[in-house]
Homo-oligomer: 122 residues x 2
Amino acid sequence: MTKAIILFAHGARDPDWARPFEHLRDEVAARTPGVRVVVAFLEFMQPPLADAIDALIADKVCEIDIVPAFMAQGAHLKRDLPRLLEAARAKHPDVRLVLRPALGEAPGVIAAMARHIAENRA
Amino acid sequence: MTKAIILFAHGARDPDWARPFEHLRDEVAARTPGVRVVVAFLEFMQPPLADAIDALIADKVCEIDIVPAFMAQGAHLKRDLPRLLEAARAKHPDVRLVLRPALGEAPGVIAAMARHIAENRA
């Protein structure tokens, strides 16, 4: 049973925006052998979430973790993302789509950010 | 010489948005005794960056690190933030305002996010 992780990011007009998410994708892939890891975006960048889900399922993936690569939860994660997931679940009823909490809300991630700030001061 | 750190976040209409940044503020403050640590926002939430800077300087802070609590660098950090900083530096020429890279671009933070994702899969 092939599994996948989608890193779901906001997206921006500036192409540099995508770089840290690509870096994160590579780091996650290195830690999850056998799992497909891809980046998808809410807007401005390719692919949108729906296309990323369709492509993985066309490649025989049947379980997908969706990890919002957001600092916090606002309307994008509370309103836009659930709608996108609802549509994807209706289209692919046999695939398990699991929504994870926003990365920036994870205590371990917050602690790492705090350590980074404390160690890199003026 | 009093120092401060401003965690500069996007802001949102949803009040829940602010919580992880408040959590981060507390974690940074615990690791940087004697340093004032505050959160400021680009839009929608209080205080805006300019007000946070003014308030710290009124409290005798003379060196401020500004840490963008953003996942990546787009127009907000490349265009909006430099303009805000330029205005603040013109208004407070005796205060050292140091701009840090976006948190989400720090290799240590990316590694922590990747670890968190790999350890919390379906």
